[in-house]
Amino acid sequence: MRSGIFLAGLFIAALFYPLIFPNLLSIAIYFLLLAGWATSWDILGGWAGQVSLGHAAFVGVGSYALAILAGRYGIAPWWGALAGMALSAALAWVWGLVTFRLRGPYFTLSTIAIAEILRLVAIEEAWLTQGAEGIFIFSLKSPFGFDLFDRQVEYYTALLYLAAVVGLVAWLARGKLGYQMRAVREDENSSQAAGIDPTRIKLIAFMLSGALTALGGAIYGVYLSYLEPHDIFFLPLSVQIALTAIIGGRGTPFGPLAGAFLLVVAAEVFRNAFAEANLLIYGVLIVLVVIFLPRGLIGSWQHRAVRRRYARSARG
């Protein structure tokens, strides 16, 4: 409850951000998108416990769907985004059906493989994606007269996206599906004994996760306005999405948000402060967080809080 109020406050503060920092919008947009992707990733990776290192594929599907539909057929970007989400959900469904027989590290490795294959497809099937040449988003229909290429508009779109994703996850977490996902993560046999169909729950999680990631991908596509397979279907992007969620705290509604904040700010600060050593320091930061906060920023805090609350109630 308290965290709900805190979050609403944060959201309102975020509404004023462009007024205070009109020149720091790009980085804020990326933060919002990364947080949104990580939160979406976490539905599958944190709540349902299936660590994916292939989520860049959904960013790709979302952004390419929008770009292709808008560029070639002049279809409005929101329909493009929807199409990307639908396509991603379908992709996740097939992907899940094929790979959910695998457990733990095997599943993770299979996601890398599938995303890599998709990257090669995006490069090789130039008739669809224009291949390595890349694809531009030159003009888009403007909803209500908003110019979608305007950084402010993009900022608010991304903010809405993040708010929606975080809100959805926070709401899910308290309800039936949230608990069913956690049950599946903890122990598939036990969850069957509780009447849960683990495959179905994982599929739902995967499809939701994929579709929401694709929505963020569509916004990202507009923000970049130029897409190229190597950069979009990029293993490091997949890794960063997962990293953000895990550093923040897997399976916590606000962990990915905290993770994105830490990573984006750290990356920017290090980029300016350490010049060529910046990625090295960034790596050190990751290792330190892992060693000292093994459950991630929010996760470790929550873990301790639950115990403290219990210890207090047991004493009192």
Partner: protein
């Protein structure tokens, strides 16, 4: 530009070029009597960091922005600056799409990718006088740039009547080209046309020898084959390879030799044409700023458009041609590896040094 990440190698070259140019400009009294300050941001080889850095630069009231190395990064930057109506000078990225269709705000001093193929096909034309060249096989990386060069080669083969027997792409970082080369060998093409970054270039040539693939002409379009690392790594197998490049120390522009020496000193090792491009880019900017009455974007844009500069990199002026926009029509040069060194063999003015052709078969070297 990129100082870390995948493209860090080129960022380092750029830095040398900037240093030399900046020293020169400020030694000559700066711009309109003021010393020039260069603000550099590292894009960490990432599109999104580049965009954030661009916005940051805009907010710092710089008059003009230059960038970046990779076309995949420059493309979104060009889009961004066009929308912001801010002058943007491209000095290395060669994807055609940057200036074709291009925009009023994007200027490029370096050559588009297609010209790499053009100059080489011009060389083939010359060689036709003595040799019959009919078939061509292309191997290229699947990056934006290599792809563009290969596409140009494909259409040029058709336009100029060569039979394209194979065109094969490979994924970056590939180590084993033998399957591709064996395929080529089966078709025995007259020309082997390779488009690769430097690291792959060495591996390809070594494996060409290993598989015993012989052809009358080996050409390496683009970056990989024109770098000093290529000579160092490939050694004797690099012999006879013809490459296209934007600039060498032997080009007949005044001061090229001195520039080479200065860049050499700044980089601490063999400079590449990327360094020269960065140098020329900065000179262009200084020149435009010198002519601009004020620092608002339109004025600078106009000043840029009117650029007519001679540098040791070559002449710089921006025109519209063949669908390009604000593109400096660079004259490329072709070099051939002869006795372990790059020898400039062909420029727009014609053959300057003899071109060795046909390449002897491996057994008889």
């Amino acid at each position: 530009t990129s100082f870390t990440g995948r493209f860090a190698e080129f960022g380092a070259q750029h830095r040398a070029g900037f240093e030399v140019a900046l020293a020169e400009i400020n030694a000559n009294g700066g711009v309109q009597g003021r010393q020039v300050e260069l603000v550099i941001e590292d894009d960490t080889s990432s599109q999104q960091t580049a965009l954030a850095a661009a916005e940051k630069l805009l907010s710092r009231d710089v008059p003009i922005i230059m960038g970046a190395y990779s076309s995949s990064i420059t493309n979104p930057l060009a889009q961004y600056f066009t929308r912001q109506e801010f002058p943007f000078l491209v000095f290395t990225s060669s994807a055609d799409s940057i200036t074709s269709p291009g925009s009023d705000w994007v200027f490029r001093i370096n050559q588009p990718a297609a010209t790499y193929a053009e100059i080489l096909f011009d060389v083939f034309g010359i060689l036709e006088a003595t040799e019959s060249l009919e078939s061509i096989a292309v191997v290229h990386g699947n990056g934006t740039f290599e792809n563009a060069v290969a596409a140009a080669a494909e259409s040029l083969s058709e336009a100029r009547g060569y039979e394209l027997v194979e065109i094969q792409s490979y994924d970056q970082g590939l180590t084993d080209f033998r399957p591709i080369l064996n395929r080529f060998k089966a078709k025995s093409p007259d020309i082997v046309f390779m488009v690769s970054y430097s690291a792959d270039a060495v591996a390809i040539m070594r494996q060409v020898k290993e598989t015993g693939l012989s052809a009358k002409v080996f050409v390496g379009a683009a970056a990989g084959f024109a770098l000093p690392e290529f000579l160092e790594g490939a050694q004797e197998v690099a012999e006879y390879v013809i490459t296209a490049t934007a600039w060498t120390k032997d080009v007949n522009f005044e001061g090229a030799g001195e520039l080479y020496a200065a860049l050499m000193e700044a980089r601490g090792k063999e400079p590449t044409y990327h360094a020269a491009q960065a140098y020329a880019g900065l000179l262009t900017v200084a020149d435009a700023l010198n002519r601009a009455e004020s620092l608002d974007p339109e004025t600078i844009q106009r000043a840029l458009a009117e650029t007519d500069l001679r540098t040791s990199y070559g002449p710089i002026r921006f025109t519209d041609f063949n669908g390009y926009r604000n593109q400096n029509p660079v004259k490329m040069v072709a070099e051939q590896v002869q006795d372990g060194a790059f020898v400039t063999v062909f420029t727009q003015e014609g053959v300057v040094n003899p071109i060795l052709c046909p390449v002897p078969a491996w057994e008889s070297r």
